[in-house]
């Protein structure tokens, strides 16, 4: 690890200011950034910790919206969202291991947008809104492909607002080594229709399975998915599975999620 400065602002505006210095980078749980620094793939000059900004650490149900502060750990979401949005709490409870959940945050996970991360599926299927220090971004606009988001340089995820669906379920099939999703599906039944988000599978990162959404919106049942399949084209192929296998898993995980809801 190279030398760096470390600052610990207490407010979002102080953090934004600190991030304006050259080579500054936000640090939340450090579960992604610190390993990258240790192997010297990242070498920020200044680390701006977001973990001590009280306005960014909370889980609050506000009517039919669940609001989660950008620096809230997976462990806190797992505990505190269990009543209002159990499917999201269950997603958070299955990220990594206890150490990772006690440090890693929703903001860090979304900003990173790992193609195999869990939260992007929950956010996309929930049709959540990502609130930053300067604007609000809809989930459909936020994720822009592997490790790419709508965030600008120095922009901070301050809060995520989840419309709470009528019912939802996250089905995760783990990659045996990393235990990230090899492929996972988040299915949400909203009053306006169903949303299905698949993570881990695609070379373009998290995506919505539109055909399945249409089918489930007209008939929310496993049989509605009969004959539907995710196209293997564009799916990730690696040591842990072919693109055909991932496409197949997307179907299986979606069906299981639907079966668990109905």
């Amino acid at each position: 690890m190279h030398d760096f400065d470390f600052v610990r602002p207490q407010t979002v505006s102080d953090a934004v200011r600190a991030l304006a210095t050259p080579d500054a980078q936000a640090l939340s749980g450090g579960q992604t950034l610190l390993p990258a620094m240790k192997v010297r793939l990242a070498a920020p000059a200044v680390l701006v910790s977001l973990m001590h900004i009280p306005d960014m650490v909370f889980v609050r149900a506000d009517g039919d919206v669940l609001r989660v502060g950008g620096a809230t750990t997976h462990a806190q979401v797992a505990r505190e969202a269990a009543g209002a949005y159990p499917a999201l709490a269950s997603l958070a409870a299955r990220i990594g291991d206890p150490a990772v959940r006690s440090r890693g945050t929703i903001g860090g996970s979304l900003a990173n947008n790992d193609p195999s991360a869990c939260y992007p599926a929950g956010v996309l299927a929930s049709n959540a809104t990502i609130v930053t220090d300067r604007r609000e971004i809809g989930a459909d606009d936020f994720f822009q492909g592997m490790f790419t988001t709508a965030l600008e340089e120095g922009e901070i995820v301050v809060e995520v607002r989840f419309p709470i669906p009528d019912a939802a379920r996250y089905e995760k099939f783990i990659q045996p080594a990393s235990r990230f999703p090899l492929t996972a599906a988040f299915v949400a039944r909203h009053s306006g229709g169903a949303r299905v988000a698949i993570t881990g599978a695609s070379e373009s990162g998290v995506f919505r399975w539109h055909e399945a959404e249409v089918a489930l919106t007209s008939d929310f049942a496993v049989q509605a998915l009969d004959g539907l399949a995710v196209d293997a084209d564009g799916m990730i192929a690696d040591l842990h599975g072919s693109s055909a296998y991932r496409a197949h898993l997307a179907g299986v995980m979606t069906r299981r999620a639907v079966a668990a809801i109905v």
């Binding site: 080594a177 040591l239 842990h240 296998y245």
Partner: protein, 793 residues
């Protein structure tokens, strides 16, 4: 009933107090005043010519003492290989040079090219990034078959071939085996790969070397399973340091699984640099470095053919194996696919004719050497898979087919040059079937079927050979070392005992078990006995710990030394009581004149030995300290029956292991709890190999499973509770404790059981899948089901 804390009792592991409270002393816990840090610059390509190394700018960076390259090692020996194999044509194996630092060419990702030594690790690493290395890429030689084609590029040009050796065993059987297979009623053929593994001990390797100018003495602290072997190899063959000037210490070592047997370049480098720089030099491997510099395990590709008669009697067995050596020969690499593999191909069966051919091949990969089981898992896997396949093809129950071929009379001389002294394979099989409720399997399978799952039962019966010996035989087989073990038993004046053993404990619990043996023999509290190991300055020349040899060989040496102690102590006791030594009996720590109530205590005798006022000085020397070297007459042959039950999710290919049962014959058992723990560990590693672990390279020679993000290690939650039994004991006939060894059994016997169970589940589900190469990850199981659809009902 075992004595309290004696042989057969299960006292808790005394070493765990320090391991579990963070007070162990591992190599990295040792820091020497004024030490500096080494950082290795390693090749990031698999194969290439080193066109230039520019270290000038790096050398000028803060804190840098010196940057070393191959040029600094001119006149220094290469890393030696400890075993020479002779090919079928009588020629000795091709043995490439293995320089400490890459010389002219790099041959695998991770091959060390240069070393920066600096005041701090960060400075060394910063400077290492500034070392500019110009490498002209050469085509990577990855596939063993392609490597043996005539126009293949060469890992070592000067050898003119990528073949290390072409070994035939037993060559005289070849024709008879071919004939038997050609005329057999049935021949079952199986082609398989034994997957490459990374050992992954919890503690990465460390080397810390110091040179004492006044005495011209070196000390090397290293993570080794056998410090004396390192002292001999490094001192005599690499650096030319006489042994009395070189001390090698392997303090607490956090697991090895074989990977810490070998002499590594980093050890030689630090020792060399400590003198060159007149500063202690420390190197600590990162986990990433471990993946590309610790010797890997396994990596065999095999075709096996089993010939049977119409009753299922095995007539002949023929195997052809390609064994990956990697880019250089690691210390014991040549012996693993040969003497530790070919000699086991009889398994538990009476197969009269066996021929094993092994071609060892160089590739642009990390060197491959012993890993828990070393050769025996490869043998067992082939055999127990092909037997299962034969059973299916012939419509014979797999348990029954094995039973029809079990060896039942001992001693039994196999056609592959070894003689099993004892065993009772029907007993372990019976025990397995009972403990695993085999009779209830069909009902459980039906219950799974109702849930849409496929349940299967898999079985394997293994033989292993531990405590490779005797030395004169292994010398004939090409070993460049002896395989005895040593122990010094030092009785102190007040009766407490220090045992200096040549064995090395890196997790096995020797400090507990060895003390149990000595305490039991004398009849004193084992707390009075301490076990000292891992330091060439404190222990007699010993060969260390691997191959499940410690209790069988090291324990026997300790017994012999203790017997000498007891014999001498009896003489002293006889003198004290004015009796004949032949009338003296030792029981519960007291020497008694037989048939009388006259006795002296152990402590009276030990005190007399060191304060010899009333002592037979004319007949015996004062003091009570004895050393024994023990060279076994034969291997020991543990065996056992393993069974496991799995459930396959047909939608995802995911396999869940529901139960695992192990019925082992380890001969006599010193500490059943520790033995059970060893079996658990072995089973977990066997599970890892069968289901999860896969060291994979791409076609360019990049290691793609180079971290825990892609190399899947098993965790406790992946495994079921194990049912483990070792009561079917047939004691070894040729060592004093009647022990056989248990360290590797789990890793040897379990992989075929897991795979057989999955194949059984798929077959029962109507999938005509006869084989899947390990690891049986969900994607592989699913792909196999897709390829081989569902049989018509």
């Amino acid at each position: 009933m075992p004595k309290d804390g004696g042989i057969g009792d299960s006292p808790k592991r005394r070493e765990d107090v320090r391991f579990l409270t963070g007070t162990g002393r591992y190599s990295d816990d040792i820091n020497i005043y004024n030490q500096v840090y080494a950082y290795f610059v390693r090749s990031d390509v698999a194969h290439g010519r080193i066109a230039g190394i520019d270290a000038e700018a790096a050398a000028a960076m803060p804190g840098v003492l010196r940057i070393f390259t191959a040029r600094d090692f001119e006149g220094v020996g290469g890393i030696p290989c400890g075993w020479q194999i002779t090919s079928r044509d009588g020629s000795v194996m091709n043995e490439p040079k293995h320089p400490v630092l890459a010389d002219g060419k790099v041959r695998h990702v991770g091959d060390p090219i240069a070393v920066v030594v600096a005041e701090t690790l960060a400075q060394a690493r910063d400077a290492a990034e500034a070392v500019v290395i110009d490498i002209e890429d050469l085509p990577a030689i990855m596939d063993m078959r392609a490597a043996l084609t005539p126009d293949a590029p060469l890992v070592h040009e000067d050898m003119g071939t990528n073949l290390c050796y072409d070994w035939g065993f037993v060559e005289d059987n070849r024709q008879a085996v071919d004939d038997a297979i050609a005329h057999a009623h049935h021949v079952t053929t199986l082609e398989l790969r034994n997957n490459r593994l990374v050992a992954n001990p919890m503690e990465p390797r460390v080397a810390l070397a110091e040179w004492n100018a006044a005495a011209d003495e070196y000390t090397l602290y290293t993570t080794s399973q056998n410090p004396h072997v390192i002292r001999l190899l490094m001192g005599a063959f690499v650096l030319g340091i006489p042994e009395h000037k070189l001390r090698v210490v392997a303090p607490d070592v956090g697991g090895g699984f074989g990977s810490k047997i070998f002499h590594y370049a980093e050890e030689a480098f630090c020792t060399f640099a400590a003198k060159a720089l007149r500063r202690p030099v420390k190197w600590v491997s990162s986990r990433s470095e471990a993946f590309m510099s610790d010797a890997h395990g396994r990596d065999h590709v095999t075709k096996i053919e089993l010939a049977l008669d119409e009753n299922g009697k095995f007539l002949a067995l023929r195997t052809e194996t390609l064994a990956n050596m990697g880019a250089y020969l690691s210390t014991f690499a040549p012996s693993i696919p040969t003497w530790l593999h070919g000699t086991l191909m009889a398994g538990n069966y009476t197969t009269p004719l066996i021929y094993v051919n092994v071609k060892a091949v160089f590739t642009n990969t990390v060197p491959v050497d012993a890993y828990r089981g070393a050769g025996r898992p490869e043998a067992t896997y082939q055999l127990e898979r092909v037997v299962d396949k034969a059973a299916r093809e012939m419509g014979i129950d797999p348990v029954d087919l094995r039973r029809r071929n079990f060896i039942t009379e001992f001693p039994y001389a196999t056609p592959v040059a070894v003689e099993y002294d004892t065993g009772d394979y029907h007993a372990t099989m019976d025990k397995l079937l009972a403990l695993s409720d085999h009779a209830g399997f069909e009902a459980r399978a039906e219950e799974s079927r109702r849930r849409g799952m496929l349940r299967g039962f898999g079985i394997a019966h293994y033989i292993e050979a531990c405590g490779i010996a005797p030395s004169n035989l292994v010398g004939q087989l090409g070993a460049r070392a002896g395989l005895y073990e040593s122990a010094t038993v030092r009785v102190n004046a007040t009766g407490s005992i220090s045992v200096m053993t040549g064995s090395h404990s890196h997790g096995q619990g020797h400090e507990t078990t060895f003390a149990q043996v000595v305490g039991d023999m004398i009849g004193i509290d084992p707390a009075q006995v301490d076990i000292i190991h891992g330091d060439t300055a404190r222990t007699p020349m010993g060969m260390g710990t691997y191959g499940s040899r410690s209790i069988a060989v090291g324990g026997s040496a300790m017994v012999r030394a203790t017997e000498k102690i007891i014999a001498k102590a009896k003489k002293i006791a006889a003198h004290l009581m004015e009796a004949s030594e032949h009338d003296i009996e030792l029981k519960d720590g007291r020497f008694t004149i037989a048939g009388t109530d006259r006795s002296v205590a152990w402590g009276d005798v030990t005190l007399a030995a060191y304060v010899p006022h009333n002592y037979p000085l004319e007949e015996i020397e004062p003091g009570l300290e004895e050393t024994a070297f023990y060279d076994p007459a034969n291997f020991t042959y543990p065996s056992g029956a393993y069974g496991c039950e799995v459930e396959v999710d047909p939608q995802t290919g995911k396999v869940t292991v529901l139960s695992f049962t192990a019925a082992d014959d380890f001969g006599n058992v010193i500490n059943p709890m520790i033995v059970e723990g060893q079996v658990h560990g072995g089973l977990a590693q066997g599970f890892g190999q069968a289901m999860m672990e896969n060291c994979a390279y791409d076609a360019d020679g990049q290691l793609i499973s180079a971290s825990y993000m892609d190399y899947a290690m098993p965790r406790a939650a992946d495994l079921p509770m194990f049912t483990v039994d070792s009561t079917c004991a047939t004691p070894c006939t040729h060592n004093p404790l009647g022990v056989k060894g248990c360290g590797e059994a789990g890793a040897i016997g379990s992989p075929p059981a897991f795979v057989n169970a999955v194949i059984d589940a798929l077959q029962r589900g109507g999938h005509d899948v006869t084989h899947i190469d390990m690891p049986l990850t969900p994607d592989r199981v699913w792909e196999a089901m897709q390829e081989r659809g569902v049989r018509d009902a």
